[in-house]
């Protein structure tokens, strides 16, 4: 066991500010959608717009960070041990088995996380943010000579935006729950707050891992 500085300062700032922005956007967004009333439509729409610009700015920084640090490689999808990981969550976790994959600084994400987070980054966020930008800039042609997205109906833009929001909320629930599946229920969240996490020694292979488990039994 060794204590490793796994989540860098910017990474944690990005993660938590993105998390709070997405939750705030959901809160105000579903009010704009008409689901409930908290701030009132006018304020909700205004807050939603401001928060959306902040999120767009944050995403631009995050993309820059991913590219310059090479951290984007963390998300290269792999099918190796993907099945093991799924089976672990379906059954192994109840039998007290260890994670089938090992977390290291160079490979923070297990195969399932890689796939889900990649989908989050290249499908879910682009759908939601893209449709959001279209929604925000939606204009029609008139005497003001405003720029047009006229022939794409607002109902479709709103559909994609709402779909993205719903999927994000489902992601949020599952994501928050999955953080409890670490070594202890709070170890993953602690790591994302402090940046440090206790990891297995790197030279430990999975076989060793399994042997250890057997020995302890």
């Amino acid at each position: 066991m060794r204590k490793v500085y796994i989540y860098k300062g910017f990474e944690r700032f990005w993660h938590w500010s993105q998390a709070s922005l997405i939750m705030f956007l959901a809160l105000t967004g579903f009010e704009v959608h008409g689901s409930y009333s908290i701030f009132g439509f006018e304020k909700a729409a205004e807050f939603h717009r401001t928060a959306s610009w902040l999120l767009i700015g944050l995403i631009i920084f995050a993309i820059f960070w991913h590219i310059t640090t090479g951290e984007w490689r963390q998300y290269i999808p792999t099918t190796k041990q993907l099945k093991d990981q799924v089976i672990f969550y379906i059954s192994g976790i109840f039998k007290g088995e260890h994670h089938p994959t090992q977390k290291t600084e160079l490979s923070k994400l297990n195969p399932l996380q890689r796939l889900v987070y990649l989908g989050f980054k290249i499908i879910l966020i682009p759908i939601t943010v893209g449709s959001g930008i279209f929604y925000m800039l939606y204009k029609t042609f008139d005497q003001n000579n405003l720029i047009v997205i006229e022939d794409y109906p607002l109902a479709s833009i709103a559909f994609w935006h709402t779909l993205g929001a719903i999927l994000l909320m489902i992601f949020l629930v599952v994501h928050v729950y999955m953080t409890t599946t670490g070594k202890t229920p709070t170890s993953n969240i602690n790591a994302m707050i402090t940046g440090y996490e206790e990891l297995e020694d790197e030279d430990n292979t999975i076989e060793n891992n399994n042997n250890q488990t057997n020995e302890t039994k």
């Binding site: 008409g34 701030f39 006018e42 204009k139 029609t140 008139d142 607002l154 719903i166 909320m169 629930v173």
Partner: protein, 541 residues
């Protein structure tokens, strides 16, 4: 180094969080102060005041006794030698405008031939209706529109408030009017000049428009932010600018085309708000839609007029009944009415073109639309405008399937006027004879609707319609306009249903998974404890 970075980051996050919370709090709890009327007083004090270039009391041409109003006109024309040509080219004089109407071609429409669902139409009732014609002596539809002597200069230009057109006197002034005084006090038209006709259309104050009320001569800025005496105190002609006696602005109960309009944008530009999101609304929403939350703010306006109830007599005599606010709700000569005050407008799409029901048109749909305002969401030049919809019923010819024009006004009993004899058949025959259209003799009453764009009684900005009054799921102001997606009102119900189910299933799945983890760990602990107990019992090898 790491420590300093961490500390900096912590401080940064703290500052950002505090700022965000502060911003949210300011947004939630900040309320704007009431408008400071001192600003209006200052505007009045330092405004450029119009000084008339001529003092008409000094002119010898006007310093005489006028026997007839035509003599006044002649005196005016002795100096303003060509002005009658401008006046006689106007719709105020001609009671019609020539315009191209799609599907109909070039048509002339105006008070001459357009019908309405108030007093129905001018044809055969000229002597009474021409109280609001800027001329003298219109007693029938054989009026000489080329006689400049009959132009009434005074009704618009009298600044003494003395002038008054007589009731049913074919446009002649009341006999009490001192013509010398009026002639010597002429000037630019004031609210009271325009209002003497435009407030009283339909036979009483605020009957027709709903947003043009005699109260606007002297009202607060809450009633009309432009005309309010404690506000800008503007005259009608400040916005309804005029060139060669052609007054800009028009009413779509009589006008079909989209030319020479008076619009808000002419002063306020089409980007008047500081907030871009509001300016962008302007591509589909008219200024009036948000800035006139209610109309008929002082006196009631007529919302419904049922001619089918007319003709009830008490002891063989016509009678009248009033509602609690003193408005007639029944008159034997006219039927029953519904009046309303502080009315929320209806909203429709409008692109500036309209079509009117002209005398002789065949009825296409029920209720009969006395005027159709064109427009739709898909039409680029259409905007949502507030309207007053005046409903009612009126007499029509069952065989020819068209509205008919009865003769209503008459001087004596027995000359077939409905208001004297209460006989529809004779009144219709007399009314239609002048138009030259055949009648079948079989009549009934048919539902009608008339659309009156609401443009006046603009409220101060603090009272503008708020976002949530339209962007709301149920009973919003735009609930009836369903041909577009309105955020906050509309949603994809299938997606919402699917989303809700998926979200609930996800939460259930997560809780189920968590429960199984907890149960399995409890079970495992027990199992391990049993093993340990078992080991304890046995002596170690």
């Amino acid at each position: 180094m790491q420590y300093i970075m961490n500390k900096m980051l912590r401080n940064l996050i703290f500052i950002v969080t505090v700022l965000v919370i502060a911003l949210i709090m300011v947004n939630i709890f900040h309320h704007e102060d009431n408008y400071n009327l001192k600003l209006e007083e200052l505007k009045h004090k330092y405004a450029l005041k119009e000084i008339p270039s001529v003092n008409h009391t000094l002119l010898p041409a006007l310093d005489k006794e006028f026997k007839t109003p035509q003599e006044v006109t002649e005196a005016c024309l002795s100096c303003h030698t060509e002005t009658h040509k401008e006046v006689m080219a106007s719709s105020h004089w001609n009671w019609e405008r020539t315009a191209y109407v799609e599907g109909k071609g070039i048509t002339s429409a105006g008070k001459k031939n357009v019908m309405n669902n108030f007093c129905l139409g001018t044809s055969s009732n000229e002597k009474s209706c021409s109280k609001c014609h800027i001329g003298y002596g219109m007693t029938s539809n054989h009026y000489d529109f080329n006689n400049s002597r009959n132009v009434d200069c005074m009704v618009c230009h009298d600044n003494s408030e003395e002038y008054l057109k007589g009731a049913s006197m074919a446009g002649y002034p009341d006999r009490t009017v001192n013509l010398e005084k009026v002639a010597q006090s002429v000037g630019s038209p004031r609210k009271s000049n325009c209002g003497s006709c435009h407030y009283f259309g339909g036979g009483g104050n605020n009957v027709k428009h709903g947003d043009l009320d005699v109260a606007q001569n002297s009202c607060t800025r809450e009633v009309d932010v432009h005309m309010g005496a404690n506000g800008m105190n503007m005259e009608c002609v400040a916005c309804h600018t005029t060139k060669n006696h052609q007054i800009s602005g028009k009413l779509y109960s009589v006008s079909p085309d989209n030319t020479n309009r008076a619009t808000c944008e002419q002063c306020h530009t089409n980007t008047p708000h500081l907030r871009d999101v509001l300016n962008r609304h302007g591509s589909k929403v008219s200024c009036q839609a948000c800035h006139i939350p209610v109309y008929a703010k002082v006196n009631s306006t007529k919302m419904s007029w049922k001619w089918s109830d007319a003709g009830k007599l008490k002891d063989g005599k016509p009678y009248e009944e009033e509602d609690s606010l003193g408005n007639h709700n029944y008159m034997s000569i006219k039927g029953s009415f519904v009046w309303k005050r502080n009315v929320k407008p209806d909203y429709i799409w409008f692109n500036g073109t309209a079509e009117q029901y002209l005398l002789g048109d065949t009825i296409k749909s029920v209720p009969v639309k006395m005027n159709t305002l064109h427009g739709s969401y898909k039409d680029h030049s259409s905007k949502i405008i507030p309207v007053k919809i005046h409903v009612g019923d009126q007499i029509y010819d069952k065989v020819y399937h068209r509205l008919v024009q009865p003769k209503l006004y008459g001087e004596n009993e027995g000359d077939s006027a409905y208001w004297k004899d209460f006989k529809w058949k004779e009144a219709v025959e007399a009314g239609m004879k002048k138009s030259g259209l055949p009648v079948s003799g079989q009549y009934d009453f048919i539902q009608t609707e008339m659309y009156w764009p609401v443009n006046h009684m603009v409220s101060p900005k603090e009272q503008a319609v708020s976002c949530a009054e339209c962007h709301t799921r149920n009973n919003g102001r735009l609930a009836k306009l369903t041909d577009f997606y309105l955020p906050g009102r509309d949603r994809n119900k299938i997606l919402d249903g699917f989303g809700t189910v998926m979200f609930i299933l996800t939460i259930l799945a997560v809780f189920g998974h968590a429960l199984m983890r907890i149960l399995s760990s409890i079970w495992k602990n027990k199992y391990e404890k049993q093993i340990i107990n078992y080991d304890d019992d046995k002596p170690t090898e």
